[in-house]
Symmetry: C2
Subunit: 333 residues, 2 copies
Amino acid sequence: MKNAQTRRPTLYDVATQAGVSPSLVSLFLKDPGRISEKRREAVQKAIHDLGYRPSRAATTLASNRTKSIGLVIDDYRNLWFVDLLRGMESVLSDLGYHVMLADSRPGANRIKEATDGLLAMHVDALVLAAEPSEPMLAGTWVPTVVAGWRKGVPTGADLITNDDDRGGSMAADHLLGLGHSRIGHLSGSDGASAHRRAGYQSALEAAGVEVVIGETEGTSEEDGYGAACWLLDHHPGTTAIFAANDTMALGAFAAIKARGLSVPNDISVIGYDNSPLAKSRFLDLTSIDNRSDVVGVDAARRLLARIDDPALEPERKLIEPRLVLRGTTSAVH
Amino acid sequence: MKNAQTRRPTLYDVATQAGVSPSLVSLFLKDPGRISEKRREAVQKAIHDLGYRPSRAATTLASNRTKSIGLVIDDYRNLWFVDLLRGMESVLSDLGYHVMLADSRPGANRIKEATDGLLAMHVDALVLAAEPSEPMLAGTWVPTVVAGWRKGVPTGADLITNDDDRGGSMAADHLLGLGHSRIGHLSGSDGASAHRRAGYQSALEAAGVEVVIGETEGTSEEDGYGAACWLLDHHPGTTAIFAANDTMALGAFAAIKARGLSVPNDISVIGYDNSPLAKSRFLDLTSIDNRSDVVGVDAARRLLARIDDPALEPERKLIEPRLVLRGTTSAVH
DNA sequence: ACGGCATTTTGTAGCGCTACAATTTTTGCA
DNA sequence: TGCAAAAATTGTAGCGCTACAAAATGCCGT
């Protein structure tokens, strides 16, 4: 059993043990390089011997900075945030910043709640990667970057997001380039889907090809399945399907399989998001990579700049997606 | 632009605005029911008007409790933690506890780092849902529950985890029950896999059936693919495959498809984890649900009990998994 | 060896909140 | 109506840390 009784050691304990003043220990914590070697070693040792850990709460309170960035996501199951996070951390961790994650999964306007929680923790800045249902951030304001959606960006916040219009036309152009001329689209219901649809639409119109869109309620595999069934039954000549995301593409697979057709021989399928699903050897799904890692890097840089100078003009930036070629699309037969 | 200049309002500002003492506001924050209605409304209004948010840092420092539980996971991409988390939150959120997540993804012994970060935040308790590479928690000690692995449980910590042995034999028994007698196993390399393998092995031995195990380096789809290729090529009579997890089952699908065989007509496949993959309409994979949500519920309860009484005897508890029947297993032909 | 300067170290005063005992107000009942 | 008990409210003293100015020390040339 550990010595659960003994009080957690404080900075003062370290100072006493090392025979220096508390200020010196504080200085050590902030920048070990700025104190003499003799003291540095003494403090180092005292910290180690005592098993001392600085209290984040006290540091925050005293310095009014937390060296941490809050990231609000909608649902842990939407894995795109992992790339975003990795991108952010690649910039931030070297500078000593931490990223605190809050998901807004459970219900209606939990996004506000998640944001509030992060603000209560005094995060120095905020990345909003979830679609808000109502205006938020009333009251306190911290540097904010919106990532991944475009509506309802708070005043003064930056926007860095994926260029879904571009991605939509990229997907469509890829299929057109393979010779397809009967290309259906399975469209989701969220903001990103609308842009992807617009991109698809403009590319097809530019090529003088008929636009066929299967609308759905949501963005799930079931939605994709339903839309694909509609598409295949009402437009039997379809040779290619562009799904608004990889999950919906999976639904399309199911619909195609149920009709005894095969991918890509009978029908080419392209998804969106380049999710782990798409990368799977079994599924091997051609997809659009929306470069969320780049969004993360840019968001982090922007935040750092805005922490330095809060008066910066709000910026709007789109990140170019990229096509990832795999086995589910092929030239039309 | 929001009033970025104005200082964040404090509890004192609220007190002044509401014409009461700071203590009263503090009391209100802790339990609004304990103050008179008149004051309650005044404080309520002041908080609203000022856009006041309590400073978590100050609360923590003053009360030495954070009402938060730390959860250390290995990688956000391993979605099993989502169920764990949901289970924990179902118990904790009503009691006003928050769960703070830290992943240990980036590198070697980042688990210690993740844990340290959580401890620096003064979490009241810790759930360790990642396999540690070395002993940790040296120094400070908080109530700890280990979830999901069984080795290296810190002294004094509770263990609540999935009964992977049971799940392994459950999977094997299911296949045996369908009449299969040539059942191969794709075994992963982590701790859970070892137990699943042991369960498989004992079930097959009890039935007097040959044990055939494809060993792998890791637990990825590629590993599953490789092991399945070996299995199919060296044991051509195989009619059923039990994969140590759903991802590896996907690899098995790829290997089966590459050999012109079909699931479940030629070969039945059962996975493990009941991941979103398995639930997919397209894949429709029979799997073992390890009930991580129940693990979460139990872990949370245990932690609460241990926060009340740190001297509790360490507990060891296994959660019974359950078979989820889907379309990839059928009676042997 | 000694001023003058740069570097290192220290004391003091909070940061925003809660605990707890002390005080004031309200309530119940003889 | 008066008084004890209960309920509501308040004052005071930190929690562990950092900022900042002040003090101590080290280092240089002459």
